[in-house]
């Protein structure tokens, strides 16, 4: 008798598939619970993505502005700008001239006739030239401020504004961290339930096939032949659950995405999951198969003596 790997694998997969199909009602429930786990997992990933985006947005808004006295020349301001750009903590420096500041101001208050009138009455531009500094790391703003304080043109700087958004960031991180923790606990809990349900389903299959298993053992079926179909069955639950979860998640993300974009401008949920479609589906498959195979493995260990 010859032993062929291809035949062996074919038989193992066929048997696993038959186990899945023949238990259709039980399979349906098992796949359902596992789908729920994967959906929760996907939701957790969405939340992670969104909170990261919110925090990134806030971090981007943190900056240091240095306002120069009217006496400062453009060259002097440019020299400070060059000094800052040499500093490794600084990500970029934006120069806003007096005229630019005025134009921005007018634009911002375009709908306010009182301000427009007051501006018109002034002979000269009351606004100051400024440098808008962004740091590579929001924690280093205090150091950048210190660096500016020590600059040789310090006397030309009227004031240094340092917007402390850190408190807001901490709060957002705190909230999203809390949601993530509870989401993770819920996902793990549900994953545990899914493992129990799958475990029980495989146990049922094993009990239903007591005779076959006994015969396989008697005739010297290898451990692989006896056990692998159940692992395959478990994996199939995972694959189906991943496919169903993906098929449910993408439409949901598609409908929610515009609403989220209103709340958090510039963030597209569907854009993110759309561009990562294959890796995301792969991840769902991986998690699903892992849960299925793990449950199956436990059931085999417990109920299948070879």
């Amino acid at each position: 008798m010859h032993y062929h790997l291809k035949e062996t694998l074919k038989r193992i997969f066929n048997t696993g598939w038959l186990n899945f199909v023949r238990n259709s009602y039980v399979s349906f429930g098992t796949t359902g619970v596992m789908t729920l786990v994967l959906l929760l997992f996907a939701g957790l990933m969405s939340l992670n993505f969104l909170s990261t985006k919110v925090v990134e947005g806030l971090q981007d808004k943190v900056d240091v502005s240095a306002y120069f006295k009217s006496s400062a020349s453009e060259e002097e301001v440019a020299s400070v700008k060059i000094d800052l750009e040499k500093n490794q903590l600084v990500k970029n420096v934006l120069y806003i001239s007096k005229d630019q500041a005025l134009a921005d101001f007018k634009k911002r208050h375009a709908g306010d006739p009182l301000i427009q009138e007051s501006l018109a009455e002034l002979d000269e531009n009351p606004l100051q030239a400024s440098l808008n500094i962004k740091a590579n790391n929001p924690d280093t703003y205090a150091e950048i401020v210190k660096f500016l304080e020590a600059n040789k043109f310090r006397s030309l700087i009227d004031k240094i504004n340092y917007y402390e958004n850190e408190a807001v960031i901490k709060r957002v991180e705190g909230i999203s961290g809390g949601i993530k923790t509870w989401g993770l606990i819920a996902t793990l809990l549900l994953a545990l339930i899914a493992i129990l349900v799958t475990f029980n389903t495989i146990r049922l299959t094993i009990f239903n096939q007591k005779q076959e298993i006994e015969i396989m053992r008697l005739v010297g079926g290898s451990n692989w032949h006896v056990k692998a179909p159940y692992l395959v069955e478990g994996a199939i639950y995972g694959v189906f659950a991943a496919v169903i979860a993906g098929a449910l998640f993408y439409p949901i993300a598609y409908f929610l995405s515009p609403k989220i974009s209103i709340l958090i401008p510039g963030v597209s949920l569907i854009g993110y999951f759309g561009s990562n479609f294959f890796s995301f589906i792969f991840l769902l498959l991986l998690v699903g198969v892992l849960i299925g195979v793990a449950s199956s493995y436990i059931a085999i260990r417990k109920f299948l003596k070879v």
Binding site: M1, H2, Y3, H4, K6, E7, T8, R11, Q211, E212, E214, I215, M216, R217, L218, V219, G220, G221, S222, N223, H225, V226, V306
Partner: protein, 227 residues
């Protein structure tokens, strides 16, 4: 060659099923293992297929110590040993051909092997015309012959038959015994556990009698069923 040295087996720390068994069975022998129910015949066979490990002593088959077999080697041992049971252990949802094919497939045989060997095996046991019959469409004797065909898939060196005629009438019993003798003539060692006096006396080969977990008599030749 089967060697059993000072082997005992205790069930659940309580019931002593086998007590200090010493036995040697040469290749090609036909051994009838007799004794009342509970005398330890089945336990002895279970030790040989490594379904259980002896509490004490050692068992060697072709020089291999069963106590030292790893889990992955057990299937290889079982491929050397064909087994036949009183309750046939056939799959009711599969026909005769499929029952034998199933056993081959779970051992990794490909379709070519199956298509070549199964008809031969069915022919050996005289079931060529019943290939498509399901077990419930066959007589007890036919079912047992089918089980024997399945036991032969690996061309085993040993066949263990545990009360194979227990559920059969006289005619069918005769058929099954005749088949076992024929297989033995082809060189396979046969160990037949039974309490059918007529069968044992008709075979007239080595007879080992057991009682209360001990071997009480070992008639090497022309053995008779004696209690």
């Amino acid at each position: 060659m089967i060697k059993i040295h000072h082997t005992s087996f205790i069930y659940d720390d309580e019931f002593e099923a086998l007590r200090d068994i010493n036995l040697e069975i040469k290749h090609g022998e036909f051994v009838s293992l007799v004794g009342p129910s509970g005398s330890g015949k089945s336990t002895l066979l279970k030790l040989l297929t490594r379904e259980v490990l002896p509490t004490d002593g050692e068992i060697l088959i072709d020089g291999i110590d069963l106590g030292e077999l790893s889990a992955r080697d057990i299937p290889h041992l079982r491929r050397k040993i064909g087994t036949v049971y009183q309750d046939f252990k056939l799959l009711s949802a599969k026909n005769a051909f499929e029952n034998v094919a199933f056993a081959m497939e779970v051992c990794g045989a490909d379709k070519e092997d199956v298509d070549r060997d199964v008809p031969k095996l069915l022919n050996i046991v005289g079931l060529s015309d019943k290939a498509n019959n399901f077990p419930h469409q066959m007589s007890g004797g036919e079912r047992q012959r089918l089980a024997i065909a399945r036991a032969l898939i690996h061309r085993p060196r040993i066949i263990l038959a545990d009360e194979p005629t227990g559920n059969l009438d006289q005619v069918n019993t005769y058929d099954v015994v005749k088949l076992l003798l024929k297989i033995n003539e082809l060189g396979t060692t046969i160990i037949l556990a039974t309490h059918n006096r007529d069968v044992v006396n008709a075979i007239g080969r080595r007879v080992i009698s057991m009682e209360n977990g001990r071997i009480v008599r070992d008639q090497i030749e022309q053995g008779k069923y004696i209690i």
